[in-house]
């Protein structure tokens, strides 16, 4: 028995070493380094306690990025989930050209975000981008979509919804196919309307999928900033800066690693509280086997 324990740890060892080195250690090291000043030429790093955190709380760009990230999450998550569900319902039944339509929905998922952002960048180009051509033909005044404070974040939201909806659709599609057809037959014999059936049967049965998709969507809204790098670089005037993008800016453009560590801690706290929330919500689902 004890020998099997040793074998088990040997099997685990390679993965454990890498996980510890690149997930657990950096998470702890972030906390440690956030309590020190950034080393500069001639001035080594010194213990400064909570100073980085005080600076963070007083930093308007941090608050702006946090607010942007919240707005970004609110803008992308409900929309992409609702669209994903609608898409799944549309292509689940009989439909002329179903395979083609499904392909169209899913294709953005396969493209790199960086490529998607480049395509949409052209789309939004002032003057001769497709969007300007359409609005111009409608007689609307020209507008710099990515270059103005009011619309830059919204543009990123649209791109993200476009990219993610098809991905989430797949999970709904899988769940829909697992719902027994007997249920809808019974409902139609009882004379239940389709909307009623959706509201009372389909939607509740899809609840675990919705939770799963929700968790993924929330993580993505904090994890993915490729489109910010390509399309706006957080601008104009930080109007489209997201938290991780700000960390990247501080850490790798200003090389203020101490402050970047404090910012990373803020992001880790957000993700950890989400994890705890998910655990209490999805506990039964994760451990059902």
């Amino acid at each position: 028995m004890q020998q099997r324990g040793i074998v088990a740890w040997l099997l685990l060892l390679p993965a454990a070493v890498l996980l510890a080195a690149f997930t657990h250690y950096p998470a702890l090291a972030t906390l440690y380094h956030s309590l020190f000043s950034t080393p500069k030429a001639g001035r080594p790093s010194v213990w400064i306690g909570a100073e980085n955190y005080q600076a963070m709380l007083a930093d308007p760009v941090f608050w702006q990025s946090l607010r942007n990230n919240a707005l970004f999450a609110l803008g992308t998550i409900p929309t992409s989930i609702a669209l994903a569900l609608a898409m799944a319902l549309l292509v689940n039944g009989k439909l002329r050209g179903r395979a083609v339509v499904r392909l169209a929905y899913f294709t953005p998922t396969i493209l790199p975000m960086i490529a998607v952002a480049n395509i949409w960048l052209f789309f939004y180009t002032p003057g001769y981008g497709l969007l300007e051509q359409v609005t111009g033909r409608l007689g609307l005044p020209s507008h710099n979509w990515l270059g103005s404070r009011d619309t830059a974040l919204g543009c990123l939201v649209v791109v993200t919804v476009w990219k993610e909806a098809g991905f989430f659709m797949i999970f709904y599609l899988a769940a829909l196919q697992a719902i027994a057809p007997v249920l809808s037959e019974a409902a139609s014999i009882e004379g239940a309307g389709r909307w009623y059936f959706f509201r009372r049967v389909t939607f509740p049965l899809l609840m675990p999928t919705t939770l799963f998709v929700l968790v993924n969507a929330v993580i993505n809204s904090f994890r993915l900033v490729d489109h910010v790098v390509v399309m706006t670089r957080g601008g104009p005037d930080n109007a489209s800066s997201l938290l991780l993008y700000y960390i990247y800016d501080v850490g790798f453009k200003f090389w203020d690693t101490g402050y970047a560590a404090a910012l990373t801690m803020a992001l880790l706290v957000i993700l950890a509280s989400l994890a705890i929330g998910q655990f209490t919500l999805l506990d039964r689902r994760i451990h059902y086997r």
Partner: protein
């Protein structure tokens, strides 16, 4: 049969969804003058692709990306298989705690720990290498979780039978578990390859030269340095970088969709 409005809605949404990509294809395959003018008689051309291919070392970037996704995938398959087997079929002290520690990575991904991981790579002296891009992703919590769930469904009798015949631990794993989990391996491989083919921020941070840059970073360097905003060439380059994956996707569409489904339902 569905009602007409629904079919119409499905198609409208489909057209809307494919439009940005169609727009990119149009721009890339037509001369510059037609990049935003939609005339059916516009001549087709491959000129933009040729120019993009010659303007930046995309061939090298492609080699780097292929090396990167292969390296990550092989490491992931080996490490996750071993760890998943330990979690699925062994009783040992600290198992539940260890599994919890693995699951942490599902929430706190390497994508977020960029500052500290950069520091580690710099200390290891591997900055600007393909290994540095891959290292943080090789032990995948997602892969361990997925394979553990699969291995748990393998009947214990098969395991016992193999052991009675004198097959060792690794032999049993290789001859009993791995073959039975084949569809899950394929699913995981497709998800992993498309994830790392598309990954951008971390490679952007750790790479610094042509010899290690993957396609995504190469594309960004190419399109952000002054190209005189030649959209025809930039879109051609964009399609070039996503092309191989896109072609593979269209060819193996069913497998892709099923793999993503399988990977999601756990």
């Amino acid at each position: 049969m569905r009602r007409a409005p629904e079919t119409l809605a499905a198609w409208l949404l489909g057209v809307l969804w494919i439009l940005p990509l169609a727009y990119a294809v149009w721009t890339a395959f037509h001369p510059k003058e037609y990049s935003a003018r939609f005339v059916l008689t516009a001549p087709l051309t491959l000129h933009n692709f040729v120019e993009a291919w010659q303007a930046a070392p995309f061939a090298r970037y492609l080699v780097n990306t292929v090396a990167l996704v292969t390296l990550i995938l092989i490491a992931q398959l080996v490490l996750c298989t071993l760890a998943a087997y330990a979690f699925a079929r062994f009783e040992f002290v600290g198992r539940d705690l260890a599994f919890m520690l693995v699951l942490i990575q599902l929430m706190i991904m390497p994508d977020i720990l960029i500052v500290e991981n950069y520091r580690t790579m710099s200390r290891l002296g591997v900055l600007d290498t393909i290994v540095a891009i891959g290292l943080p992703y090789m032990a995948s919590a997602f892969g361990i979780f997925l394979l553990r769930q699969t291995f748990k469904t393998v009947p214990r009798e098969l395991d016992d039978a193999a052991r009675v015949e004198g097959t060792g631990v690794l032999g049993t794993l290789w001859r009993v578990y791995v073959p039975l989990a084949r569809p899950v391996y394929i699913a995981f491989a497709l998800v992993s390859v498309s994830y790392h083919w598309n990954n951008f921020l971390w490679p952007l941070i750790v790479t610094n030269s042509v010899t290690s840059r993957p396609l995504t970073v190469g594309l960004q360097v190419f399109s952000s340095t002054d190209q005189g905003v030649d959209w025809s060439i930039i879109t051609a380059a964009t399609l070039l970088t996503s092309g191989p994956l896109l072609v593979a996707f269209v060819l193996f569409q069913r497998q892709f969709v099923q793999s993503f489904m399988r990977a999601g339902i756990r």
